[in-house]
Symmetry: C2
Subunit: 207 residues, 2 copies
Amino acid sequence: MSTAEDTAGEDMPWGEVTPEAARKLLVAAVEAFAESGYHATTTRDIAGRAGMSPAALYIHYKTKEELLHRISRIGHDKALEILSAADAGGGTPSDRLADAVRSFVRWHAGRHDTAHVVQYEIDALSDDHRTEILELRRRSDAVVRGILRDGVETGEFDVPDVAGTTVAVLSLCIDVARWFNVRGARTPDEVGALYADLVLRMVAARK
Amino acid sequence: MSTAEDTAGEDMPWGEVTPEAARKLLVAAVEAFAESGYHATTTRDIAGRAGMSPAALYIHYKTKEELLHRISRIGHDKALEILSAADAGGGTPSDRLADAVRSFVRWHAGRHDTAHVVQYEIDALSDDHRTEILELRRRSDAVVRGILRDGVETGEFDVPDVAGTTVAVLSLCIDVARWFNVRGARTPDEVGALYADLVLRMVAARK
């Protein structure tokens, strides 16, 4: 399941993680969690996938939960960064919303293993870590909600339920990580373009 | 995690499964798979949750995969039934699409544990069972695609990409199973009504 992680999105997956051994372990953990689920994966499985001993893993990560937290934190930081960059990119609310959807979809399609782990294993985090991650998620939600509000204020959007529509827009993008198939008919860019159009229709954006 | 399963949707979850011991085991399996994932769950866990011995479980299900297949089969049959009923309900393409979305969303919100297992553990099925389930899924997709095509033909919908929009509509409904919270602000009916409106906007239905 690692193909998409390695080829789509960025040059070097988890390039922000150093040293190299810690990065390889994180890549291995994402693969293992995506394939078997967090609970069925052992630190021994992860070390084995990375070609290391369990003892070598413990130098970098004390627990399996620490690996999950690191993955979730980087994934949610990235999600917030993507949405904030689209929002800060300027232009009309329609421009910013379309840009946010395009880039958020591309990330979920290209990094679908990571996205799946990040979105689905939240319950497995410790209480403190879950609180931290849910706060990041609230900030991501707030970016999209802010764009929708701006569009309503300028009269560009017709959105009777801003909070509910925000949930729907983000949900549509996030679920790409479930169904996207690297061998399927569409590229991440094509899905991003389609979804940007569908979301502008959802908010009834003036063309 | 069984609360929503027990209270929303139908009177008796998995009422179609008999005898009662087989039904209780299926309910226990859904809870366990939803909580820990298929791979981390043992038949011993499932028997224990149902208050039975592992030997009693084997009278009804030979393998853990047989339980997953049974859950997936019933879940996908139900999904197809819901969408087909909406399609057969008559009215304009807009009426049928709105009805399909409302009832599909209600099911995913009310039975979110089941929906999660059904949608996410497809890779854990045997090859034959996976083929069978994917065929059911294709038939569900075809129902929605057919409604969109009808609406395009009558001029009621403006949908440049019928296949892609079908994926998006179903994905939006399915992902309700991930984020829906029984203690959240919205009831399954409210989410269904919001989503029916959003989907009609996606297809640019004439009001």
